[in-house]
């Protein structure tokens, strides 16, 4: 039972990282209609920046984290202003491929600056563990959960209590009517990318910190958050969070159980588990758990 609790907890922690990434996807998708595959590049960039601020500039973690988030957010907003704003009238194919192109380029930036070596974040969490109800858990996992919950709360306040949040919701539900009301779409788009960049950075720092290391692999982790978006529904922030956590738990449980229960399914099944879930959901419930069924007029 303790083992199971431990697994669920590890799943929650991984899932909350996926939730952060998925939230960024959904933000950009709702505001601009772009499926941003470059999110992994932003995540990787953010983690490397935080690592540089800590190890290179010698700042503490608690200063490095907001600095890196701000920088990554600005890079994301810059991408929107320089590239994706220009592609608004282009077909979906063009935009999707452009996000892949941006991902390929973004991945090379930290590698060029810091090399291929795995780097230690030197965060305050390290390998520390705490005991909750006789279950030993990593401190960083607790913090990850706290950060994810905090981000969701901040975003909720932002969406429902600020004018910018209102403008973003208006743009998402009807772009033309929003423009008619005097909402500047570019500002909305750039804000969405900025927030997505910040979320990606936070996710990257939590993935690269603690017992794990900062490495070029981080970009691949973000790709596994894409199934979370599909599970929850492309246009539902709540769905992104639920989907992320479900994917995280599914991945951790598969990693723990598959080798003994079903060894014939192969090694590292947990790494493809999210993709099997993605295919299953797209087949039977393409709108996701919380998404709305897409319908078009002829």
């Amino acid at each position: 039972m303790i083992d199971f609790t431990k697994l669920i907890f590890a799943g929650l922690s991984l899932g909350s990282v996926y939730a952060l990434i998925a939230l960024g996807f959904v933000m950009v998708y709702k505001a601009t209609g772009i499926l941003n595959f470059a999110q992994g590049g932003l995540l990787m960039l953010g983690a490397y920046l935080a690592q540089y601020f800590i190890n290179g500039l010698g700042t503490t973690f608690w200063i490095a984290l907001p600095m890196a988030m701000l920088a990554t957010g600005l890079v994301a907003a810059g991408l929107q202003r320089t590239i994706f704003d220009k592609l608004l009238t282009h077909p979906a194919f063009t935009v999707i491929m452009a996000t892949w192109a941006v991902l390929i380029v973004l991945e090379q930036v930290p590698i060029t600056l810091f090399g291929y070596d795995f780097l230690n974040m030197n965060d305050p969490f390290g390998l520390a563990m705490v005991s909750i109800a006789s279950v030993q858990v990593f401190t960083i996992d607790l913090w990850t959960l706290a950060f994810a919950a905090g981000s969701v709360a901040v975003l909720a306040v932002f969406f429902f209590r600020t004018r910018m949040g209102l403008a973003m919701r208006a743009t998402a539900s009807d772009p033309e009517a929003a423009i008619a009301q005097g909402i500047e779409p570019r500002l909305v788009h750039a804000t969405a990318w900025f927030v997505a960049g910040m979320l990606a950075c936070l996710a990257g720092v939590m993935l690269g910190g603690g017992s794990r290391l900062v490495s070029p692999e981080l970009s691949h982790v973000a790709l596994r958050a894409i199934p979370a978006v599909i599970l929850g529904g492309l246009s539902s922030p709540l769905g992104a969070v639920v989907g992320g956590i479900l994917i995280g738990i599914a991945e951790v449980l598969t990693a723990a159980w598959a080798p003994t229960l079903a060894p014939w399914l192969g090694k590292n099944l947990h790494l493809v588990m999210p993709y099997f879930l993605l295919v299953g959901f797209l087949m039977f419930r393409p709108q996701g758990l919380f998404g709305q069924r897409q319908s078009g007029r002829v």
């Binding site: 282009h90 491929m97 452009a98 892949w100 390929i104 493809v272 993605l278 295919v279 087949m283």
Partner: protein, 353 residues
Amino acid sequence: MSSAETAAVTARRMPSLSMPVLLAVCYVALPFVLGNSFWLQVSVYAGIAAIGAIGLNLLTGNTGQVSLGHPFFLGAGAYAAGVFGQDWGLPFWIWLPGAGLVGFGLGALVGPFALRLRGNYLVMVTFALVFIGLHIFSNWSAVTGGAAGRGISVPVAIGPIDFADLFGATRDQCYFWLVWGIVGISAWLVFNIINSRPGRALMAIRDRELTAEFVGIDVSHMKIAAFAISSAVAAVAGALYGAYVQYVSPVEWNLLLGIQYIAMIIVGGIGSVAGGVIGAVVITFLPHLMREVAGSLPFVAVNQSDGGLITVFALNQILFGVLIVFFLVVAPGGLARAVSAAAGRLSAPRRHK
């Protein structure tokens, strides 16, 4: 028709006449010109990529179904070649079509997903397919040799004609003729599909699916057929790759390869057979050309230890990303349209008033 106009028409027809002759000369002569150099090998790889790109262009360019899943079918083809040609010892003229058949079957299996999903969602499924494929390829050891990969040594002879040893030519030269011959066959096949009733149906589906359905096109049937044919062509390319390289490991069939194939048709020209071939040649040669010139660029390191500002690999990736965006935004017709536009401008009559 005045004589000037006739001359203009003839001039415009000139390229269409001289083009096949030029291509035929290149086909025969290039292996001799390139000798037994590294560039001949790159040309063989370019030919294999061209076959795959022709297949993908039929699916993505002509039917409008964006697929990142090409590596899955390429890999399946390579392993099919290994099983049919090596493990079962079947001759060339059976294992190559056999690999194509495997690709066809897998494409027909995946195709139904494309019926329910379009646009963003289809990209998602094909993207998941790459990872599921990687998992299968690294674990089905009996067929793929597991994560370490497997050797593929297969015969490439039809009766007395052995494509590994043609009139004393080297292996690379023979493979050049074999591979580019199959490029020609695939191009001819796909060109005929596009310029026939089914091809027009595919394009109708791409442009407006609902309208296509209204005019009586069996949309689901055609979509699955496009997927199956495209995958079959990809599997043939994969089989040739396996036969040429003689060793494949699962990591080769990764997502980047899928993006590279999409890049080939974007750079070459979406929906054009020639475009697929041109794009494949450009994308295949580019990294090697970059490596050549990198030595003379001051800030580029050929190896990581050289201490330059940026590695050739990183520079290649960046260039690759820039090319995709450039051709999508600035030149959506790709090189194929740019070349034919330039040729048209050259041969078109000048009008003076």
